[in-house]
Symmetry: D2
Subunit: 355 residues, 4 copies
């Protein structure tokens, strides 16, 4: 197989920087084209300083012709803006991984409610595959439009999926308390929000019960449960750069031992290279997943109360965004699932045997 | 009224340093005596470097005679060690504020279960007043032994008290997700736990469902509810120095509007100078309480699910420890409740009118 | 003496917030008037959230009449904008402490060169007193216009003054390597500069040999030396909120022992309450000065090379800005020099005996 | 060429963790043997939690027989302890890269002075090659004992080498102000030093003019200058995990333009894949080198004073330790110099053409 030519539409954001970093070292890929209106004509390193000396590529204007030289385009434009690019690219038979939220919700009503805009391409919504490889690897392999999941949904859904699939918990009592690092807030300054002095030494919630990742999480949990699941979702900002830590407090529907619960997780995620299930008494922490594509999961049970707590940790810029996009690309083009991702050399065996 | 002579038993820890800082500037107090075995004969600033030039006091050996020159002693010894000092001091009619956990639990069985030691002074347990001034100010005024509350319990109980007193929530579905800064972990090194490299950039839980603050919280919530309340309590470490942020997810027993809930809080905490209730859409954050004795509280309601979320923020070293100890001292000796505490000059009016 | 009525022109910035915090608790002062165009009609706490519940004051429009009800106005407007307010206020016999850089340089040519604007009030430049109380306390007492020093100059000049006054070092070989926390960069977002993700985990220089604090430092060092002194000044950003750490590497003109050098510092700063000189082998650190008005100073000598290193540490928002402004106010109005500043109760003795 | 079998003696420290991470993914290497006395019989991930699921290797006891199965051993024992292991291994014709300081100083007198111990293997000192590939690549290729440089020396020597080789600066006026992250302080707790609460929000110097990296830097600078060079070296701790930032203030011996100086650097480092020279007006920052093996270098000139400032930035755990060790291994065994290091795929071209 020859080298895959890929491009990025919207190359100046934080996640795009992480994606470029991965693509430049991916053994089966060549990064050909990086579009950015706001960084037009700059070299990549002028916007992503860590790239100095690593590539001579520069930012270019949007051009469908240019994009057509690529077999795959990553769209990293803001929500509500991304859909036009996606629709345009699909007309040329270019495969697309959309990192925005524009194609994650299957229901156009829900999209309109949460993103305050009527979706312009409802037929594409139906065609899009939700790009969480641990749930949809087969569909991703055959897809030309993959909607890369949100960062919070990745941590929350992966933490909950086995419990809902096996109907072990009360789907009306899912309490998610999540803390995210600031890379999730992007590079656009917002006074009082993402300045260093706003965040340093601080902890605080935001978008309480109003975060647009709520419908995305509920959509996937409900599909797994095969009936409506509801969450209470409280996102917070933590003074770290990368990482999302989700603490999910649940009610078991019936008495179940921790060993059995862990077994259920291990079975559900068998042969999934990026899921690590922790043994009893051990818990995920951000330092174990930062700069990796892992989603680490741990459980704690209070048997008297039938209260189960699930912990999940991801790097929001990798498993929560750019890393997952590369994982999706690997599936779409028949590469090893971990190809080009951190620790790929160690993970190839996992892909066949599981953790 | 003359100046109150006070002393500290156990003066080398982190909280003791904060307490010394407060006592040195308190207008009605003179710090006479600071005991420390491990820092014996050092000057205070050799252990608490920020005190350089502020006091010539040094650490002294334990002596009941020395202590007897004080009208009040703060005991800041580790749990299970503190009780002997307390018992000893009380024999001399010296009033005591115990910052350890030794006199917080009213039930000796519970103490034995959580602190792995039979309590040696069960009769003193009965005599001790739980030093949360927002609940027990009258008892504190007349007490000779005040058990200063734990840091997590302060944030959690203050966040929940009005709801339990008015029986508005399900007392079996109290999900507390709390993050603490590292000052709560003290100054004793623990490899893999409280080194800078263990914490920086990290988020992680610890003592999941096993933290000894659990029985303390449940004791007070049950008293308020007048029936057993149970919590799920998940403490985490956040890479900050000072502060505890508690996110408490709850189920309302019946449909209740946010305005009415806020009104219930404002009424419960009327004329309490250190409680600040946030208006709808505003939430506490650590930066607003750090280096103060405030407990800031905010609410969010998801009416469809009858899901209520309470947020509380404190500085664990002040309202969660040394500041609360000073507040208790103020009550015990008839000073203004905010005397010697940050923003005292602004708070005196609050003490009569409330926020 | 009655209570002093004071006001602030430019009340929405970071330093203004710190100043408000100090003024609200100052025992001899009443904050009457806070101007801000950009926060007009908001309450103070809507801009400085930590003030919630502490004051009912709101931001008002600029009005010379309003200002005239105050005996002292702090001007906290940006450089080049502040001078008009200052000139206006002085016409009404209102005393002014200007926190901007507009009246710090005595030489209008130098002002024009570094601030890219011809100074509009050269006669006021002459009248202004440079508000570094450790050098100019007598002049400050009689002044109606005090130019509050810059943050870096405060740390650097205080660290160097005794050496230049006693002509102990080569004034052409002064190498200053300084690191500042982000509060010095203010609350105006600058993409790539002061966002959390730009700063976290990072160290980097900025305005290398181009920082406008250079002429201010050289002006004062030259006055002390009574001949031209030159500095190499390299400012950096450190991922902390508050604090400036200056490491100053010097060449002694002749062999001098460390004890003698320390003695020289202690003599120069006798009875100055906010200077703490460290003993041999001890060095300042940010944690010892943060949230105080201290400037801590330490020395290290490499006798073989006649190389002297001076370390100074301040809280840039206090001794480097708002605290020093209050110290200046205290001198101007005959209060105790430490009145209303952190640890005032401990410092009153220092004011007469020295550290 | 077959796969190279390598081992580590002293596998539980922080740097060893980074080294394991690199070796596990190196395409030409197999990690066979990891010794640790203190972690004996644990799995690697029990000590380095981020390795969970990546390797089944465990820590083993020291055994020369075991070590002999490897062609190369990395010794990561503490200074003064490492030398015995090194001597032992060399008897078996096993090549050694020693990460301790035991073989860095060529002069035994200097070793005795700075490490307070007479060196036991002076003949090996002579045999050892100082493992800074940018200066000694040829010698490293043929060596069986490479002394991996210290972290500060790597940043300082690389920042200064071209200037000393070309005799452009005064070798008696080299003022180094360096800040290091805490990973350099290792994983052994030291109360008051490397706890989170000691470091967070803090900046402070340590081992002022006493750091054992001083003789190492002076040794290499003197060799480059072909005559004695002296430094003033002031190390500080910064509240970051990884990175060393060196700000080096210098006196040019004669007027030289910045362009010419940059040209001199570019020529000196031609075809060195891990050196990045910044253009005029741009400066290194930690965020650009963290998690890479780069040493980034920038210059600023104050022509009036003939004052030159050099900035260098490295990741102390990679270019300052484990990464440089892998780079040395690559040279010793004929692999591409960047093999197995971050961005290897981008750097192969650099190895032939230079930046």
């Amino acid at each position: 197989m020859g080298v895959l030519q890929v491009g990025i539409i919207g190359g100046s954001g934080y996640v795009a920087g992480e994606l470029i970093k991965l693509l430049l070292v991916h053994p089966q890929v060549q990064l050909k084209y990086v579009e950015s209106q706001q960084a037009l004509d700059k070299r990549l390193w002028e916007e992503h300083a860590f790239l100095y000396g690593l590539t001579e590529l520069g930012f270019q204007a949007y051009s469908l012709e240019k994009a057509s030289e690529c077999q795959l385009i990553f769209v990293a434009k803001p929500h509500t803006k991304a859909m036009d690019y996606v629709a345009d690219l699909l007309t040329q038979e270019i495969k697309v991984i959309d990192i925005s939220a524009d194609f994650r919700l299957r229901d156009e009503g829900s999209y309109a409610e949460w993103y305050k805009m009527k979706h312009k391409y409802p037929q594409l919504l139906k065609r899009a595959v939700y790009g969480l490889p641990e749930l949809y690897s087969e569909q991703i392999k055959g897809s030309s439009l993959v909607a890369n999941p949100g960062c919070y949904p990745t941590g929350a859904i992966l933490g909950l999926a086995p419990l809902l699939a096996d109907r072990l918990i009360d789907p009306q009592q899912i309490r998610i308390c999540a803390y995210s690092g600031l890379s999730g807030a992007g590079r656009t300054p917002q006074a009082g929000q993402n300045l260093f002095i706003d965040v340093y030494g601080n902890l605080r919630p935001y978008k309480v019960n109003q975060h647009p990742h709520i419908p995305e999480i509920e959509q996937e949990l409900s599909r797994l449960y095969k009936s409506a699941a509801h969450i209470s979702f409280i996102p917070h900002l933590a003074p770290i750069n990368k990482g999302i830590y989700s603490t999910i407090q649940l009610k078991l529907l019936q008495q179940t031992g921790l060993d059995k619960l862990l077994e259920c997780y291990r079975k559900f995620y068998r042969r999934r290279p990026f899921i690590r299930i922790y043994n009893t008494g051990h818990y995920p922490q951000i330092l174990n997943v930062v700069n990796t594509n892992f989603c680490d999961i741990g459980l704690s049970l209070d048997p008297e109360q039938q209260a189960l707590t699930v912990f999940s940790a991801i790097d929001n810029t990798l498993k929560g965004a750019a890393g997952q996009a590369v994982q999706n690309m690997n599936l779409m083009f028949g590469f090893k699932e971990s190809s080009g991702l951190p620790f790929a050399a160690c993970l190839e065996s996992q892909e066949s045997v599981g953790l």
